[in-house]
């Protein structure tokens, strides 16, 4: 999929609306839209609806591939039970303005939905989506992507990356999909010069420097191994003391992918629905017998951290955290993953 030599172009800022208008007939465009001081990825019909002065969307764009509520299939009840598969959408979508960290998160959760059994709901939408990223020039207080080998202006995991370099966008095409999208609208783009490339590098450096909060772990791989040795440390209990057990951190996490499956019915028909679920809730693991393998908040908080920093790397060779800072921003009691991980690094086995 990936193109060996990345093609680089320039798109003038005032041409952006035109570009969006040109691709709107073929694609459903999800772009950042402001509502009540928050930014959401929402389908837009014209460029003026979107806002590009934003740090990041409150709900990660995983929600565009992995819907919070998804109908898996419907069925009829009663004597003549029939199962009708839900139709999978074939609409092509463009997620415009996705940040590099969120794009990375999709690459991280891909194996979960691909492994052994292919998940048709996620994969159809994922395959039909083109990710047009926008470099994060003004990282927020809690951004820490650089701690996890990310960069606010990395085209990796994206089809196209736009970087604001003043009055124009520096456009990097990183995949066949991205190339095709630009190909059809080529007349709006001009080749990038070396000066432009340098400008992009400067912008990226400035953004990287603006990320001041860092996880203070020297070696990521060593840290993953270290967690194996501190599983039973009392440390987790102290972290969990103040946890309320709400699902804000998990629902808003771009790499959390857990779900629940439920049946919804009327008298004669019904549907099997899947909805996001959160490992922070006791009901998540509660057996019908009343036994709960993770009975205390400590177990659940620890599981969340371990899932991201230990189990996931063991299974998929990736840390399931991109450093977007959403869980820090939205925790009502200031449980701060940067702090949690940094201090875990100091815990004696």
């Amino acid at each position: 999929m990936k193109v060996s030599t990345m093609e680089k172009y320039i798109l003038l800022k005032n041409k952006l609306p035109e570009w969006i208008n040109m691709i709107t007939p073929t694609y459903t465009i999800f772009a950042p839209v402001k509502e009540e001081d928050l930014v959401f990825f929402k389908p837009i019909t014209k460029p003026s609806e979107m806002t590009l002065a934003y740090s990041n969307a409150i709900v990660p764009p995983k929600a565009q591939m992995f819907h919070q509520t998804e109908t898996m299939f419907t069925f009829t009840q009663g004597k003549n039970i029939r199962v009708n598969p839900a139709s999978l959408p074939d609409e092509k979508i463009v997620v415009f303005g996705i940040r590099p960290c969120d794009a990375k998160s999709l690459s991280i959760i891909d194996p979960v939905f691909t492994n052994d059994f292919e998940d048709p709901y996620y994969l159809t939408k994922r395959k039909n989506a083109i990710l047009v990223g926008l470099s994060c020039n003004q990282p927020t207080v809690n951004c820490f992507c650089t701690s996890l080998n990310g960069s606010p202006a990395s085209p990796e995991h994206l089809d196209i990356l736009l970087t604001d370099i003043g009055d124009k966008y520096y456009v990097e095409l990183n995949s066949e999909k991205g190339k095709q999208l630009v190909e059809k609208t080529k007349k709006l783009f001009t080749p990038a010069t070396d000066a432009d490339s340098k400008k992009k590098k400067d912008v990226e450096k400035k953004a990287v420097d603006a990320i001041t909060r860092q996880m203070k772990i020297n070696n990521v791989d060593a840290f993953v191994k270290k967690l194996d040795t501190i599983f039973d440390a009392p440390y987790w209990k102290t972290i969990a003391m103040k946890c309320l057990g709400c699902g804000a951190c998990t629902y808003l996490c771009p790499t959390c992918h857990c779900f629940d499956i439920q049946d919804e019915t009327t008298l004669d028909k019904g549907a099997r629905i899947r909805v996001w679920d959160s490992c922070m809730r006791p009901e998540y693991t509660l057996h019908a017998s009343g036994h709960n393998p993770r009975p205390e908040r400590m177990n659940r908080v620890r599981n969340r951290v371990y899932h991201k920093y230990n189990y996931y790397p063991k299974n998929h060779q990736m840390i399931a955290c991109v450093g977007c800072g959403r869980c820090i921003d939205n925790c009502p009691v200031n449980i701060d993953i940067i702090d949690v991980i940094t201090k875990a690094g100091e815990v004696k086995p």
Partner: protein, 327 residues
Amino acid sequence: MVNEKQLRDEVKKLVSRDDVKYVIGYEQGTYGFQVTPSFAFTPEEAERFIFSPLCANNLSVYLMLEEKPPLRKGEKEDTRKVGLVVKGCDARAVVQILQEKGLKRESLVIIGVPCTGVIDPKKITVKFPHQIKPVDVREEGNHYVLTINGKNQKIPKDELLFEKCKQCEYPTPVIHDVLLGDEVKSTKKEEYKEIKTLEKKALKEKWEFWSKAFDRCIRCYACRNVCPLCYCKECIVDQLSPQWIYRSVNRSENTVWNLIRAYHLAGRCSGCGECERACPMNIPLTMLNKKIEKDIKELFQYVAGVNLEEKPLLAMFKPNDTEDTIL
């Protein structure tokens, strides 16, 4: 505001007692204007305690969150007291819990803080979006003084205060074992201006307003978990049979969830506003709670969480309660 040294001394004294398990208070958060709940088991840990106008959390939620794993053979229940730092609104939540017999009075030691209002973290972050280093915030008359990078900045209190604090009628904890500093008398009166304006609108407008808000809801239940009075063993949304509220996130279910949450707090909500603060989707939840608060004040002359002896609103009645719309 409170003398922090006095607070720490008081907490140290408490945790040194044999009959006190730990004390719940506030400590400096990890960045910017964050303050975070803190648990002191030892006098050393009490050193961390602070109290500033940034201490917005209602710590009484932790009273009901305490986990009690099943006792092992021969093990005795730990009946030691829990200490708690409360502001005016937090104390009302404690009263409400005690009134409902959720806890025993003798299991608590309450350190009351006469409160002159706390800062809305959302408002202050808008003003200083890039603040990472912790900031010292002091109150001086009608202003807050922020020390950022060695420079003092004066901001009028009104610009930063929580809306709820602007109409707070009970700034001094109605229940306490120790009161730090002098009582604060309130001359304010809750007028429910916002509520009344919305009430007067047409049904269609009201539905538009609320459905737009509820559409944003992601059902993370932060509003429920942060609420000191949401302590049912099994919440109605987690119940499977009968499953009253489906887990699907759509307008119908979200509306029902938000209505039922608000209704379950009818006559119980102490107005601490934690639900709205915790909501990542900025749903104006206090506007629902305050509406019910206003109604019960008007209909039943009842105020939640101020009188320990009173019975819960919906567990009692008066023979002459309103019958206006009954056929």
